[in-house]
């Protein structure tokens, strides 16, 4: 196999010295991490390497020599370099050489031992691959397929050469901590040797975050303790808490805030990214909420809104009355059963009358309620949207009631019809065996059954029409609520920090690498430049999206249609899966 030498671009112009790095035998590749310059004391070099090996768990060793000189190396220098091979034994021993100001390199790799297989050369062919050390150190490789049974530190034969390179550079951070201004025993050249990178703001934030996190974590634990107290578990409050989406959203946000201000440090980069994404999401939410607040409270818009709300509710009730009058007549030219029509119509009209009286009772308080609801926007736009969804649900409560009445009536009728149809054919539903069995009925049973069947069948169109109309209205309201929930979900789960990172520092999220062949001359070793291939945006969102509330429609379209046809009540936005009627 061709020997691959990964060489950092920052060391290309470094002075001559020793190559320090890691040798990966399965991939036949040498990852050069730094160049150690002359003069040095071999004992101190070996001590330093042992320290780095212990701290980083990476098998760092001296891989060979690096020669960057004015002209062809002299005899004495050549012999000196060869003698170094005896001081630092390593198989194979690399010798990289470059002329100062020249573009072409010469590389050799020699094995001291006799070749095991006959015909295998004592010298290997070398391929040079340049990589940007800073980018590879900071980036995170997202491989497309992850083996399900891989543990951390799996054999490199299964991981591949790229994962090995990224892993080596990332874990050898200990080696890059010293720069050329430190008075250490050895002088290294790597990406930080011109000066260690640090940021004052990051350091200040790190110092300040300790006490702040402690304070806020204690406050949040107090809030969670209050919300978990027994008063809220009693029946009316627990019922309300499970139905209202505002409570759900507030609980979700409390969880997020607890995560952000927890005093435990993040163990791996995935947790850190999740924390950062949560912070970005909360900040965006609060910013949008404050914008909404300032828009609402400026120029007395709340007053206008409150003034418009009661007439709108009245208008909706009036339209419903017109609809019912239309249904009580001859809707779309269909002929209804007059008696049943009048009964159902008058029943629903009385309901609307009650509803209008209720709205008029509430009208003086509407502006105050809206003002306080508007204040809740400072907790975040998602809370305000959830409140809006709940207000819509409350204002259209009469539509929900009509839908339930219509559905129950229709369901009862359908069940009765199916059972009597079985009787008509001489069959019966066997509850024990859960199947249809034949049954011999008496004559009077058959007579009554057929009579009831006929009555129900001829009353079916009326009931079906009422059911259809109110189901459509209910589905409209559910669709509006669904859109609002979708928007809330989007704000909750969008990974803004990762998207921003992908936009501004694309090398941090790597989907893979790309190679470019550099200027090549026949007889010289092949030189490649390895660059980072950033992750596409769709994969960033897919990998880093935050878990949302989970209020997704649980039924498929087929199951939904079947439920509608049979008259069973539908709850498409069921929260947390508890069954209530």
């Amino acid at each position: 196999m061709v020997l691959k030498a990964f060489f950092p671009t920052c060391c290309v112009s470094a002075d001559s010295g020793l190559l320090v790095g890691r040798w990966v035998p399965e991939q036949s590749s040498a990852v050069v991490l730094a160049v150690l310059h002359f003069p040095f004391i071999p004992i101190q070099v070996k001590q330093l390497l042992a320290q780095v090996r212990q701290a980083s768990q990476v098998g760092v060793a001296v891989l060979g020599t690096w020669c960057h000189c004015r002209q062809e190396p002299e005899e004495s220098l050549g012999r000196f370099l060869e003698s170094l091979g005896a001081v630092f034994p390593h198989e194979p021993w690399l010798r990289l050489c470059r002329e100062r100001g020249g573009t072409f390199w010469s590389c050799e790799a020699t094995r001291r031992q006799a070749p095991t297989a006959p015909g295998a050369p004592g010298e290997d062919q070398v391929m040079l691959i340049f990589y940007d050390q800073r980018q590879v150190l900071l980036s995170q490789l997202h491989l497309p397929t992850v083996l399900p049974d891989r543990q951390a530190g799996a054999t490199t034969a299964s991981t591949g050469v790229l994962a090995a390179v990224f892993d080596t550079v990332a874990r050898s951070e200990v080696l890059f901590r010293s720069d050329r201004f430190d008075e250490g025993p050895v002088r290294l050249s790597h990406w930080q040797s011109e000066g260690v990178e640090a940021s004052i703001l990051a350091e200040l934030a790190r110092r300040a975050s300790g006490p702040i996190c402690l304070l806020l974590a204690s406050l949040l634990s107090l809030v969670s303790a209050v919300s978990a107290c027994r008063v809220f578990k009693l029946w009316p409050l627990s019922f309300l808490g499970s139905k209202l989406s505002t409570c759900e959203q507030l609980r979700h946000r409390l969880e997020h805030l607890t995560l952000i201000f927890s005093t435990r440090k993040a163990e791996n980069p995935a947790q850190l990214t999740r924390k950062a994404n949560t912070v970005a999401s909360v900040l965006l939410d609060v910013a949008l909420g404050l914008m909404l607040l300032s828009w609402l409270h400026g120029r007395s818009r709340i007053g206008h809104l409150a003034d418009a709300l009661v007439p709108v509710a009245d208008h909706v009730a009036e339209e419903l009355q017109h609809l019912l009058q239309w249904l009580m007549g001859a809707p779309a030219g269909l002929k209804m059963n007059r008696a049943l029509d009048q009964v159902l119509g008058r029943f629903f009209l009385y309901h609307i009358h009650l509803w209008i009286s209720y709205i008029h009772l509430m009208s003086p308080f509407v502006e105050h309620i809206l003002w306080h609801v508007g204040l809740s926007a400072c907790l975040g736009l998602t809370v305000a949207l959830s409140l809006l969804s709940d207000i819509i649900a409350l204002l259209t409560f009469h539509i929900y009631c009509f839908y339930v009445y219509g559905a129950r009536l229709y369901c009862l009728k359908i069940h009765g019809l199916s059972s009597l149809w079985r009787l008509f054919r001489g069959k019966k539903w066997n509850v024990l065996r859960q199947r249809v069995d034949s049954c011999s009925y008496d004559l009077d049973q058959l007579f009554i059954g057929t009579l009831l069947f006929t009555i129900l069948l001829f009353l079916l169109p009326t009931t079906a029409l009422y059911y259809l109309v109110f189901t459509l209205l209910r589905l409209l309201v559910v669709a509006v609520q669904g859109l609002i929930h979708l928007l809330v979900d989007l704000i909750n789960s969008l990974p803004l920090y990762s998207l921003g990172l992908r936009l501004c520092r694309p090398y941090r999220l790597a989907a893979g690498v790309k190679f470019r062949v550099l200027q090549h001359e026949a007889g010289r070793p092949l030189r490649l430049l390895m660059q980072i291939n950033p992750l596409p945006y769709s994969r960033v969102v897919h990998t880093y999206r935050l878990p949302s509330c989970g209020c997704h429609p649980k039924h498929s379209w087929g199951a939904l249609c079947r439920k509608l046809f049979l008259g069973e009540l539908i709850y498409p936005w069921r929260q947390r899966g508890d069954k209530q009627d």
């Binding site: 196999m1 036949s28 391929m127 591949g160 790229l162 893979g512 190679f515 090549h520 092949l526 490649l528």
Partner: protein
Amino acid sequence: MEDERSFSDICGGRLALQRRYYSPSCREFCLSCPRLSLRSLTAVTCTVWLAAYGLFTLCENSMILSAAIFITLLGLLGYLHFVKIDQETLLIIDSLGIQMTSSYASGKESTTFIEMGKVKDIVINEAIYMQKVIYYLCILLKDPVEPHGISQVVPVFQSAKPRLDCLIEVYRSCQEILAHQKATSTSP
């Protein structure tokens, strides 16, 4: 070492294949697709603008005309940036991997790199495409679970779609490198 030959694609358009032999272990094949023709661009623009003018005479709203211009510009930019591929390159490096690059007309480049450890073989396959049966070159990837299985088939030169003669050239060169790689690879 570099040479260039011209072939044709499945629709009869002219393709140019550029081969670069950097070393016995590294080869690059660059296939250039026919450029965007002025004739088709003019035809599409005229159709869109005639339709917009027809709508304008019906509705008497000048917004339709500005919307048509906007749509044409955005459509052209979108087509050049996301759809029109100018060049497709296949770089095969012994014991490192295979890299496929597509360069779009707007200059965007999209690269995929497959490590040699994952590559099982490179083959020419037949496929039914619309009403034709065409040949295409594809890379077979190893299945990590099953040693003799194939987990994925990655087609190469998908938008250029060269004919069999061009594919045979590329296939022969790739097989030389793969054979060399299999002979010298150390089995785990």
